[in-house]
Symmetry: C2
Subunit: 142 residues, 2 copies
DNA sequence: TTTTATGCAAAACTTTTGCAAGGCC
DNA sequence: GGCCTTGCAAAAGTTTTGCATAAAA
């Protein structure tokens, strides 16, 4: 999905394209492969729109989550990170713990669990799988 | 591991078994298959030791995490839950989103990812996999 | 003009910390 | 007695909310 498509999608959902919102969207789009904290997003988006408040960031995050356009990731230390979810397909990710870059992995092993789960009479509704490590670039730096 | 073994383990690590600590440990032990929030833990442990403060809960959680005796789970809404980790084997869990009960699953599919990951030159250090749904009891209630 | 968004400040939560007092070993 | 623990209160960090104002459509 292009940046323009993204804007259109928001318009169709009765979102007004304010400068603040555009700067937030554009910043997310620029960093669409990296996870960002609300604070990261504020700092980066301010480069495009100086008058921007943290509460606006949070309100926009909330809105994008409702539209299922954001992927929410909570780190082990509890801090919350986001990135755009541009295609709504189910995917798992490799997450670089050094630079925060993410990459989708085109494989899901959930079928292998089905037998085990059925035996326990557990009704599966969802699952989460994430791979952590160092991406090629960060490994090279070592 | 029994509750007594657990106490011994702490003693060996120079932990003093105060009433507060014992009540926290016992409460965790009683609920060893369920995830609890710090607040849950406070309320439940107070039944055994009235004089108990939330900061003591947090300090003990911290200590147990360092000993790798606690499993930390962060929910999608950001709230943090804990349960005892009595065996240190790597395991994935089925988590009931209704009652919070958890059960370990004796299967890990990570090998299936190795080829894909190597191709991307990603250095895997860790992974997280969790299964969400309804346990047998909660399904029956529907 | 109507509706949605925003900034600002304050509030609400959760978690951490400093310090003096208390309790275990 | 010495060292670890605790309660209490205050601080710190993050996220949410109320309200008047501003901007988009």
């Amino acid at each position: 999905m292009s940046f323009e498509n993204l804007c259109d999608l928001l318009k169709r959902n009765n979102f007004k394209l304010t400068d603040q919102r555009k700067s937030i969207l554009f910043t997310l789009y620029e960093n669409k492969d990296s996870l960002m904290s609300p604070e990261d997003l504020l700092v980066a988006a301010k480069k495009r729109c100086t008058k921007l408040n943290l509460s606006t960031i949070y309100r926009n995050i909330e809105a994008l989550l409702k539209l299922d356009l954001l992927y929410k990731h909570i780190k082990d230390n509890g801090s919350t990170l986001y990135k755009l979810k541009l295609k709504d397909s189910h995917a798992h990710h490799m997450i670089c713990t050094k630079c925060g870059k993410t990459e989708a992995v085109d494989f899901c092993p959930i079928e292998a669990f089905k037998g085990i789960i059925d035996k326990k009479q557990f009704q599966l509704t969802e699952h989460k799988l994430e791979l952590y490590g160092h991406c090629k670039e960060c490994s090279d730096d070592e």
